[in-house]
Amino acid sequence: MKFFTPKMGAAIALAAVVSLGLSACSSSAKTDTAASSTEFPTANGGEVNLYNWTNYIDPEQLKAFTAETGIKVNLDTFDSNETLLAKLQAGATGYDVIVPSDYMVAQMVTLGLLENVGVASFPNGKNIDPNFMDVYWDKGRQYSAPYMYGTTGIAVNTTNAAANKITSWKDFFAADSATSVDVLKDQTEVVSAALRATGVAAADLCTVDKSKYAAAQKLLEGFKPKVIDSDGGIERMVKESSMVRMAWNGSVHRMSTDNPKIKYVFPSEGLNFWADNLAIAKGAPNLDNAKIFINWMLNPKQGAVATNFTGYANAVLGSGDLLDPAIKADPAINASPENAKLATPTPNCSTEARDLYTEVFTSWTSSQ
């Protein structure tokens, strides 16, 4: 538990809250027994196909894996969970290790798209932070290992008076267009933040009560951001083209490294917590190598390398000592206990609720 020692109880708090929150959600994960054999495979050359988010793993780390195990890594990238799901559902074969987010793991397990390899029983399974063991999307970690986790909050430039006053989603959506506000092109993030701003509780973010969405829509009516996108935000904040941005905490870490005037705000109504996972696609051609890769990534050293590259926290015990001090010291990543309490899992909504999200998001984007 070195990573979470002295003043960094914050991370534990975050993880604990998250774990509680996540466990509270209904579990769709099947808990059939691990199909894996007791013997863990040993590296014997060959290759492994990794399908990951863009710019989300250190290329040097993959080289190190090949050097240590003799297994060649073929990296392919995707840009959203939906792209990943679409590929697998369309019957794409040839992917071994994939990196779905929390709610997507739950979906994929239900749809039978993941191999039940009993990740918790891997040699390095013991390194999984207990707070990330019984998550709602994969109870007992049968299908997936934790990769990176983070929150979606607000980046503000503290030299801008109006920006510096923002403490909540309500402030964020009320920000004057002269303040140059950017927002993520992500209907789940935008609409859930608007729901929170209009007083919907975290546990109720998948409500099907239309009046709640009507209120969120009304709030969004006056919200005219400068940019709606999912890339280029770091650069704009650093150059001070934009003063406020809805952003992931790891990207805010990168921003503040280049421009110390930027800080991360945990909105007072709460914010979404997300966690990405390493999982194995059903019918993976290199099943053993995929297991070896995931096990290798659960090594504390590799957890630290991943965090130092991405700027997001990991859930591998013992990786704390090896972290870049700047990451350890960043309150965006190592949240204070009060801030950590604000984080709740990204809502994993029914089709009915998601259609209401789409309705609000479509109305909003078409009124820009």
Binding site: A86, G232, R354, T358
Partner: protein
């Protein structure tokens, strides 16, 4: 003009010089049916199917509501009303693509005429320069334009130096989308117009001048009618693909100037509503078809008028 009466007749001309066997055409035809036809059929079929309750894709159950949903909105207050949101997006697509066509036309005609009047060796170099942008990916070039238009970029710095910096904001506005579209499509307008202009015998223009016509008269009465086939081809190559633009509104318009492709993308992405995205795509196809027909009717009328 002399009438050409020596045209080959339709009977077995496959052995005539310059003619090829129909079997050689069969390969590209098969390729096109496979890469264009089948995806179109899939999209068309999807637009009439229902969504699964989980995941993405479609289930094999007839569902005709997607087309209705383009025009009818189930509002959050429980009422139904005529939906203007998608029509507005379609209008946006027409408007931006139309402006792009006009913009590229105005820029391309002088350039094409200028290149066509250089001496032949220089022409090759100039045409080569027009195609230079194709050397790098459109994505990279759009990123570069973003840097250029940024208020903290080159243009922004010039504006600051000249002293009208307070509200310099071109990037992430509709203007920026149009600049990006005009830039992207300009070569597609220049090249066909040049191809027409190159074949034009500029002695006709000289003759016009000699007979006392003014510059504008020569341009509109002699030059433009002769290069009209190139102009029509250019309009077709710019306006029609322009309707389906995705990158420029997304990257330069700051995600705010939605064109139809952007809405289709969201339905295939986070909204996880493939059938609705397909219905919108079918609508885009129909609109494109109408636009193509209009352009080809215009082309035919021009031909008939000439005869």
């Amino acid at each position: 003009m002399t009438l050409d009466l020596s045209l080959p007749t339709a009977h077995d001309d496959s052995k005539a010089p310059g003619k090829t066997s129909k079997w050689l055409a069969a390969v590209p035809m098969a390729f096109l049916s496979f890469t264009v036809g089948i995806p179109l059929i899939i999209i068309f079929v999807y637009s009439f199917l229902a969504r699964p309750s989980m995941g993405v894709g479609v289930i094999w159950k007839l569902d005709l509501t997607h087309y209705v949903k383009i025009f009818v909105q189930d509002k959050l207050d429980g009422t139904r009303s005529f939906d203007t949101r998608y029509l507005k997006v379609i209008w946006n697509s027409f408007f931006y693509s139309g402006l792009t066509t006009v913009g590229t036309l105005v820029l391309a005609i002088p350039v094409a005429l200028w290149i066509a009047t250089r001496d032949p060796r220089k022409r090759i170099l100039l045409v080569f320069l027009v195609t230079l942008p194709f050397w790098t990916s459109i994505l990279i070039r759009t990123y570069a334009i973003r840097q250029l238009l940024d208020e903290k970029g080159v243009l922004g710095k010039i504006a600051t130096t000249l002293g009208f910096s307070d509200n310099f904001q071109i990037l992430y506005t509709p203007t920026s989308t149009i600049i990006g579209l005009v830039y992207t499509f300009l070569p597609f307008m220049i090249l066909p117009i040049y191809a027409s202009a190159e074949r034009f015998d500029f002695r006709f223009a000289e003759a016009g001048f000699d007979l006392g016509a003014r510059k504008m008269t020569v341009l509109f009465r002699i030059v433009l009618p002769q290069i009209a086939p190139g102009i029509i081809a250019g309009i077709a190559l710019v306006f029609i693909p322009g309707l389906g633009s995705f990158l420029q509104p997304d990257m330069l318009g700051g995600g705010k100037t939605n064109m139809i492709a952007n809405v289709v993308a969201n339905n295939y992405g986070q909204a996880r509503n493939w059938p609705f995205g397909s219905a919108l795509s079918v609508l885009l196809c129909l609109i494109t078809l109408v636009a193509t027909l209009m352009i080809s009717i215009a082309a035919r009328k021009r031909k008939e008028a000439k005869v």
